[in-house]
Symmetry: C3
Subunit: 350 residues, 3 copies
Amino acid sequence: MQFNAAQIASLINGNIEGDDTIPVSSFGKIEQAQKGQLAFLANPKYEEYLYTTDASIIIINDSQEIKQKLDATLIRVPDAYSAFATILASYKKMITAQLNGIQQPVYISATAKIGENVYIGAFSYVGDNVIIGDNVKIFPQVFLGDNTTIDEDTILYPGVKIYHECVIGKRVTVHANTIIGSDGFGFAPQKDGTFKKVPQIGNVVIEDDVEVGANATIDRATLGSTLIKRGAKLDNLIQIAHNVEVGNNTVIAAQAGISGSTKIGNNVMIGGQAGVVGHLQIADGTKINAQSGVSKSIKTPNSYVTGSPAYDYTSALRSQVLSRNLPNIEKRIMELEQLMQQFVAEKISS
Amino acid sequence: MQFNAAQIASLINGNIEGDDTIPVSSFGKIEQAQKGQLAFLANPKYEEYLYTTDASIIIINDSQEIKQKLDATLIRVPDAYSAFATILASYKKMITAQLNGIQQPVYISATAKIGENVYIGAFSYVGDNVIIGDNVKIFPQVFLGDNTTIDEDTILYPGVKIYHECVIGKRVTVHANTIIGSDGFGFAPQKDGTFKKVPQIGNVVIEDDVEVGANATIDRATLGSTLIKRGAKLDNLIQIAHNVEVGNNTVIAAQAGISGSTKIGNNVMIGGQAGVVGHLQIADGTKINAQSGVSKSIKTPNSYVTGSPAYDYTSALRSQVLSRNLPNIEKRIMELEQLMQQFVAEKISS
Amino acid sequence: MQFNAAQIASLINGNIEGDDTIPVSSFGKIEQAQKGQLAFLANPKYEEYLYTTDASIIIINDSQEIKQKLDATLIRVPDAYSAFATILASYKKMITAQLNGIQQPVYISATAKIGENVYIGAFSYVGDNVIIGDNVKIFPQVFLGDNTTIDEDTILYPGVKIYHECVIGKRVTVHANTIIGSDGFGFAPQKDGTFKKVPQIGNVVIEDDVEVGANATIDRATLGSTLIKRGAKLDNLIQIAHNVEVGNNTVIAAQAGISGSTKIGNNVMIGGQAGVVGHLQIADGTKINAQSGVSKSIKTPNSYVTGSPAYDYTSALRSQVLSRNLPNIEKRIMELEQLMQQFVAEKISS
C-alpha cells in the first residue's frame, strides 16, 4: 500500500514541510531508511541522520530545529515517536482487516458457527460446536478443538492449537504454534513406582486483550479453569501449568514458567526464564527478576525479588556482591586467625 | 454424554442417597459446580460447599456426616477422591474410543500400514512404510516421517511431528506440537572458525506408557537411539538431547533440559527449568530440585540435589541461608578486626 | 539404499581387507551393529567390539592392529572417524536430493516464484510473492508468509512457520515447528496500568549456513531486522528477541534466550538455559556457561563467564567453592569471637 505525506499528516494531525504528494510504501529506521520509506526522529542523539537519510518522509517533534538543507518531506507533531506508533498501529489494522474469507482446503465441522468478516487460512481445523466471533483472523494450520469459543477481533497465527472446551476472549492475539489447553501434568504415584494419569478435564479461559507469544504452552485445569485475565501479556516459550491464574495486565517474559495452581496477581512483571513454584500467591504489582526462582508466596504488593530461591531484591544484590567477595572475606579471617594465634602463644609463654 | 446417578454408582460400587435417576453431563469443583454436574467432597475443609453447591450429584466418603438438608443426590464410597478419578478416567477413555476413521484431506503413503479402529485427523501426513497399530488416535496436522512406528493405543495430539525411523510404544501420549527425532546438536569445529554438521542418523525410541507434554523436543541420536523408557512422564517444553536415556518412571517437569549422552536412571524426579550437563550418569531415585544445574554424575541412589552447580540439598540450603546472611558475617569480621587492631596498638604501646 | 564395500572404500579412498562385494544398507555403533550395517572403530577403548560386532563392514584407522580372526570386511583409512562422517554426510545429501516435487494438497499463491528441483510437502502454505530458490526442501505443514524469501539449498522441516517479509539464506536448516518472524514483545505501559501494543513491522534475516533447532522462536524486529549471521548454530527451544544480532559462527545451546536489541559477536558460545539481558554487546569469542545470566555488556573478546548474574569464570568458581564452605567460615568467625571475648574479659579484669 502507498500513502502520501498529506494522508499521513492528516492521520496524525501534523504540519507538512516540503512536498505533500511524496509517496511512501514502507517504514524504516532513520539511519537505514531508503527512498519510499517513512521514518521518524524523536531522540536528538540521532539528529545527524536527518541530513543523511534517504527516507522520503520524516516525522519530527515540533521542537526540532533544522540546521541544514534536507531532501525529505517533514511532518511536525508534538510527539514524533507516539505519532509514528499511531501510524504503525493503523497500518497493521488495515493489513489485518484485509484478511478475509475461507481458503481451501480447510476442515470446518458442520456444527461450527462462524461470524462475519472472518478469515480462516488453509489447512486449519475447526471442530464440532466451535463458535468464532466477527472479525476473527485464523491463519493457516490452526487447530480448534470441539466446543472452543473464539470471541470477536481475535487473531490466531499459524499452527496455534487450542484443545477442546477452551474459551478465548475478544481482541486476543496468539502467536504461531502456541498450545492452549494441553493436559496439566498430573500423575498419581503408585506403590509399584509407576504413575497413574489424573485426567485433566477442566479448560483454559483467556480474557479480552491478552497477547500470547510463539511456542508457548498453557495447560488446561484438572477441574475448573486455568485463567489468563484481561490485558495480560505473555512472551514466547512460557509455560503456564494447570489451574494457574494470571492477573490483569500482568507481563511474563520469555521462557518463564508458572507451576500448578499458583495465583499471580494483577500488574505483576515476571522476567525471562524465571520460575514460580506451585500453589503460591503472588501479590499485585510484584516484580520478579529474570531467572529468579520464587519458592514462597509473596504477600506484600509491589515487592521486588531476585535470585533462586528468590528474596528481596536489594538484600539479594548486597549478598551477591559479598558472595563475589568471598575470597577477600576468607583472607581477612585467616589474618585474624594468625594474629589471634600469636596472641594466644604470647599469653601462654608470658 | 449423559449419565444418571445409578449408572455412576454402579461404576464405582457406591451407595446412592437420593434420586437415582438424576442426570449429569459434566464435572465440576464442588465450590463452583452447576446443575447437571458431578462433583466430589474428599477434604473436610470444603464441607460447607456440600450445602451450597448446585451440583446434581456428589460423591462423598462413607464417613462423611450430613448435618443439613441438601438437594443433591449423594453417592457414598470408601474413598471419594479415588472414585471420582476412576470416573474421570472412564469418561476420557470413552471419549477417546469414539474418535474413529480417517478425516479428509489427509496424506497417507500407499506403503503405510494402518491398524484397526484408528483415527487420523485432517491434514495429517503419514510417510512411507509407517506402521500404525490398533486404536491409535492421531489428531489433525500430525507428521509421521518415513519408517516410523506407532504402537497400539497411542495418542498423538495436533501438530506433533515425528521424524523418520522413530519408534513409539504402546499407550504413549504426546501433546500438541512436540517434536520427536529432530537432529541432535552436533557440529565439529573447523580451523577457520566455522562448524561442520555431524549428520544425525540414529533415531528416538519411546517405550510403552510414556507421556510427553506440549512443545517439547526429543532429538534423535547421532548413531543408535535416544531412549525414553517405560512409564516416564515428561512435561511441556522439555529438551532431551541426542543419545540421552531417560529411565523407567522418571518424571521431568516443564522447561527442564538434558544434554547429550546423559543417562538418567529409573524413578528420578527432575524439577522445572533444571538442566543436566552432557555425558553424565544420574543414579536411580535421584531428586533434582527445580532450576538446578547438575554438572557432575550422581552415583548414590536417592540423592537429593539443588543449586547451580547442584550439590547435596541439605548442605546447599544451609549455605543459601548463610549466603543471605553475608552482610551480617562481614559486619562480625569488621568488629573483630577493630578489636584486634586495638589489641595490636596497645601491645605496641606497652 | 544399499552399497558394497568397494563403493564405500572408493568414496573415502580406503583400502579393503576382506570381501569387497559385501553389502550394507544402514549404520550402527560398533557395539550394537547388526549384519548389513556399516560401523567404525576410532577409539582404541572399543577395540574389543571389533571381534564381537555383527557389523558387515568396519572402517578402521591405518594404525589399528588386528589381534584375532574377524568376520567383517575392513576398510582402512588414516582417520576412521572422519571417514565415517564423510560417508554419513554423503548419505544425508543423497537422501535429501531425492526429495522432489510438490505433494498434494498444498496452498501456493499464484504470485509465488519457485525454483528448480524444489520439494514442497503436503499441507504447506506458500503466501503471496514468496520466492523459493533452487533445491529448497520444504517438508509438510510449513507456513511461508507473504513476501518471504527462501534461498537455494535450504531445508525447512515439518511445521516451520515463517512470518511475512522474512529472508532466509542459502543452505539454512530449520527444524520442526520453529517460528521465525513472530512479533517482538513490545508494549508501552499506559497510565491506567494497561499496555498498548507497539506494532512490530521489521523482519528477520537469516544468513547462509545457519542451522536452527526445533521449537525455537526468533522474533521480528520492531523496525529493521533481527539478524542471524552466517554460520551461526542455534539449538532447540532457544528464544531470540526483536532486533537481536547473532554473529557469525556463534553457537547457542538449547533453551537459552537473548533479550531485545542485544548484539552477540562472532564465534561466541552460549550454554544451555543461559540468558542475556537486552541492549547489551557481547564481544567476539565470549564463552557463556550454561544457566548463566548475563546482565552487563562483555567488552573483552574471548571472556569466559558463569553464574547469575554472570562474571569471570575463574573467580566465580572460587566464590562458588567458598559459598559451599560458608558453614565452615561461620564456625571460624565464632571461634575468633569467643577467643576475642575472652581476651577482652581478661583485659578488663586485669
